[in-house]
Amino acid sequence: MRLVLTLTIAVGLLASPALAKTPYHDGTAEVIKPTDKRHPLSEIVSGYDFRKAMIRDVQDDDFANPAMLVVDYGEEQWNKVEGTAGKSIAQVFEGCAEVPLNTVGAVYPRYHKAGGKVMTLEQVINLCRETVMGAKPYKWESREMLGVTAFIKLQSRGSRMTVAVDGPAAKTFERGKELYYTRFGQLDMSCAHCHEDNYGNYIRADMLSQGQINGFPLYRLKWNGVGSVHRRFRGCLENIRASKPAYGDPDLVALELYTAWRGNGLKVETPAYRN
């Protein structure tokens, strides 16, 4: 009887429509009004504002945030001379990125002219390493890759996200949007079910956020470590019992572009600290 009651309450909590659309704490959250007419939401809020003070306080202090340890390591790699060209990433990256270094965090993923497709920061770093530095590529979820991407995006911290989704990026954008609303897996759920229809509501004892990615790579308490957007996407797919594409898969890149666009206007918070 108690199990049925609990089940009913749990389902009730999850199914209640837009019960608590405002972010969790005290009303001081920054709420962005989307400017793109295509945007499905009326308010854009960072995951930061869905968490309690205990978690927000850590992100606010670079000497308490363990993600900064990975950033420090990334900075070392950034300055390290590697590969046949005898250069460090620092010396060549701005050319590879095709945009000024302190804007990278705000504009990636983007259509990359040299690569001929929409690329994530990880992909551009490896393109740079292989074709310009003559160095070995990093594994997607390695400490080196996480450190370097976090260090680069940190240079844009505080800037507003402005990923471009038109022109040569349009096809990838449409694919990303399609994926966001497609039901997957045994639990037959889409990203939208949680992050569009139920942000502000609870799943178990966790308050659902809008699933924004303005803080990635970030430290998750669940991981006790830093992880990338693709790790997060794959984890979610695993939770709804769907099969997971590989890191860097074109579908994950499309989903990342689309999800980043949903957060346009939010400040880059890399490296964020989350639940």
């Binding site: 199990l3 749990a10 045994q186 759920m189 799943i203 984890g235």
Partner: protein
């Protein structure tokens, strides 16, 4: 995604219910089966059975911790921290963890103030007990309950 397995087409309501079942035990406020005995024994061995006073200890702990992996634990103790009157050590204990000891902080007058902040792992909702050992051999304690919720999902 071409490799997605579309298996049993269960309804969304059923799916959310599945998640709800697993979450039944994770709702806030479930009474923890606290191991008061473990902490009591630990306190006795630290104080040698001496009486433990109260006062002067301010605890900074969240009422509800969204995640038990890294719960803030901080304290400050009002003390002159002079050579003849200072806090020697502060022991932090958690009565619902597999073992109660969390950390011990050893202070010296050179610090000028008695406080510390760190992050601890809490297995579940439980009481945090802070025992201060003074330079004159006396003891003080304070305690607070921290509710711990288990996260939702998201890989």
């Amino acid at each position: 995604m071409k490799h997605v397995l579309k298996m049993t087409n269960i309804s969304r309501r059923q799916a959310l219910g599945l998640l709800g079942v697993a979450g039944a035990a994770a709702l806030v406020g479930m009474p923890a089966h606290a191991d008061g005995a473990g902490v009591a024994a630990k306190l006795k061995s630290l104080t040698g059975g001496k009486p433990i006073g109260a006062g002067d200890i301010t605890l900074d702990l969240p009422e509800i911790a969204e995640n038990g992996n890294a719960v803030k634990v901080a304290f400050s103790i009002d003390s002159p921290m002079s050579a003849d009157n200072y806090v020697k050590a502060v022991h932090v204990m958690a009565d619902g963890n597999p073992t109660p000891e969390v950390a011990t902080f050893n202070f010296t007058p050179a610090m000028g103030a008695c406080s510390a902040s760190t992050r601890m792992r809490l297995a579940k909702t439980q009481n945090i007990i802070v025992l201060a050992e003074m330079s004159d051999g006396s003891f003080k304690q304070a305690q607070q309950t921290v509710k711990v919720t288990i996260g939702g999902c998201g890989g």
